[in-house]
Symmetry: C2
Subunit: 134 residues, 2 copies
């Protein structure tokens, strides 16, 4: 397979050219080889790597965490347990965020329901709660 330009990778991986450059800057993609005139030369391992990043992002991993996952991927003695541990940690963070949001929802929902929606601010239970109920 002949080596392709950055535009090709971007299209294949369905990201912006700038994003590929950004990932390279961030160290998520290795510095690619270059053509005579300094053009980056990629192949489909780069495309697969970007897709890996995107899938990890869909699972809520930050680029920093993805970087750690990618680092494991290239270590030959990396174990499944390390990946699992990172994923389990991340899962806990996700659950914590869910709980935070649920707490917000549970605080806000009764206020919205209690709001008559026709009065002034003085009788608004939402504003009242925000003002501290004083």
């Amino acid at each position: 397979m002949s080596r392709k330009t950055i535009g090709w990778v971007a299209k294949e991986a369905d990201v912006n050219v700038q994003t590929v450059l950004y990932y390279e800057r961030r160290g998520l993609l290795p510095a690619p080889s270059r053509s005579m005139h300094g053009y980056r030369l990629f192949d489909d391992t780069s495309v697969r790597r970007i897709r890996f990043i995107k899938r990890a992002q869909q699972l809520g991993f930050t680029l920093k965490q993805v970087m750690a996952l990618l680092a494991l991927q290239t270590e030959q003695d990396a174990s499944c347990a390390q990946v699992s541990s990172m994923a389990a940690n991340h899962l806990q963070e996700i659950e914590a965020k869910i709980h935070d949001l649920e707490r917000m929802r549970d605080a806000l929902m009764p206020l919205v329901e209690a709001c008559p929606k026709n009065g002034t601010l003085k009788t608004c239970p939402i504003m009242d709660a925000l003002a501290g109920g004083e």
Copy 2:
């Protein structure tokens, strides 16, 4: 009640002095009056305002949204319905975020559970999923 310094407000409202300045820069707090020597002079309406901001933040409102709420608060003809509408919108956003996170959790959890935690990366279901299962 005598007017106090920024340090006093910060302490009363349990925020950083810098944060008070930041809120003023962002327009969440009005430009305070000044002493002879240019020092900001506050009273407890400022403290109450910062506490309002903090409570709204706890409900997940961004500073931009808080600004809108505060703007309503000072309009005399603002209605409860406007507040309610903002809150209801925000509630929907919260629920959307919860669903996103739940989707992540539901994708990640079976992978973590399926992971034997003792193999190499080649047999790791998590890595496999991230690599696209190819």
